[in-house]
Subunit: 121 residues, 2 copies
DNA sequence: TTATCATATGAGCATCTGTTCATATGATAA
DNA sequence: TTATCATATGAACAGATGCTCATATGATAA
C-alpha cells in the first residue's frame, strides 16, 4: 500500500479548502520576517536566557553577576549572552575590565509582559 | 592550574555586585511562571509553527489546508498542532470528519505583532 | 458491516542546542 | 614586563527537537 508522499499531491488531491490555502499564502509574512521572528522567540524560549532577560529588564548586570544569579558557569552565561547579542536583544558597555549588559529595546520587555499575562490565565 | 568549577565559589569569590545579584533573585519570576513563558516562546520559536499561528490568526484552517500551505506532510503538521494544543495556543472544532484549528486567545497575535515590530527596526 | 477519509500517534533517526572543559583575549595592576 | 582578572571562544558531547514512516483511531459513506 503506497503512501502519499508527493508534494504536488498535497495540493492537487487532499486540499480541502483551496481558497483558504491561497489566502493564507497571500497573507503570509515574507520568509525573512518569519525567520527573524522565529529566531527572536527561540532566543526567548530557553529558561535561563529568559531569566537573564527578565533580570536585565530590572537593571544592568555583568557576566559574573548573572552567573551567580543563575547558578551556572560564567562560560555558559557568556555563550548565552553572545546569542542574545547577535540577535540584538542585549548590548554591553565596558567599565574597565567589566562588561555590563543591558536590554537593547523595549520590545523584549513588552513580549515578556504579554507572555506572562498569557500564562497566568 | 586548577579551574574554578565550584558553585559556592561563584557566589563567594567572583561575585562583583552582590547586592545586584540579591535584588535580581528577589525580583525574579517564580520558577513555574518562567518555565511556562519559556515554553510559550519556544513553541513560537519554530519557523513552521510560527507560520501556522500567523495563518490561523487570519482564519481557521484544517490540517490538510495547513499542510498544503506549508508544503510539508500532514503528519508533521499534526505533530506540531499537538504541541500547540498542549500549550493552549490553538484549539479545534470538529465538523464531520474535519478538524478546524484556530488561535486560542489574543495574546499570541499580540506577541507576533510586537515581535514583528522588533525585527523591522 | 466494510471502505475510505481526516487526523493522530509512536518509533526511529538526523540535526540542533546548551552545557562543560580547556584555552584565548584584552584590560588592569604590580 | 608579568600576573591576574573578567570575559570570550572552540571543541566535544549528552539531550532535545522536528521530520518521516508506518500504523491507529474515529467519523462518514456505501
Amino acid at each position: 500500500m503506497p503512501h502519499r508522499n508527493d508534494m504536488t499531491d498535497l495540493c492537487d488531491c487532499r486540499c480541502i479548502h483551496e481558497k483558504r490555502v491561497t489566502t493564507a499564502t497571500a497573507e503570509a509574512l515574507p520568509e525573512q520576517d518569519n525567520q527573524q521572528m522565529a529566531q527572536l522567540f527561540k532566543a526567548m524560549g530557553d529558561a535561563n536566557r529568559l531569566k537573564i532577560l527578565w533580570a536585565l529588564d530590572h537593571g544592568e548586570m555583568c557576566v559574573c553577576d548573572i552567573a551567580a544569579f543563575l547558578q551556572v558557569s560564567e562560560s555558559a552565561v557568556s555563550h548565552q549572552l553572545r546569542l542574545l547579542r547577535q540577535l540584538q536583544l542585549v548590548s554591553n558597555r565596558r567599565e574597565g575590565p567589566i562588561l555590563y549588559y543591558h536590554l537593547n529595546d523595549h520590545h523584549v520587555a513588552a513580549l515578556m509582559q504579554t507572555a506572562l499575562e498569557h500564562t497566568r490565565e
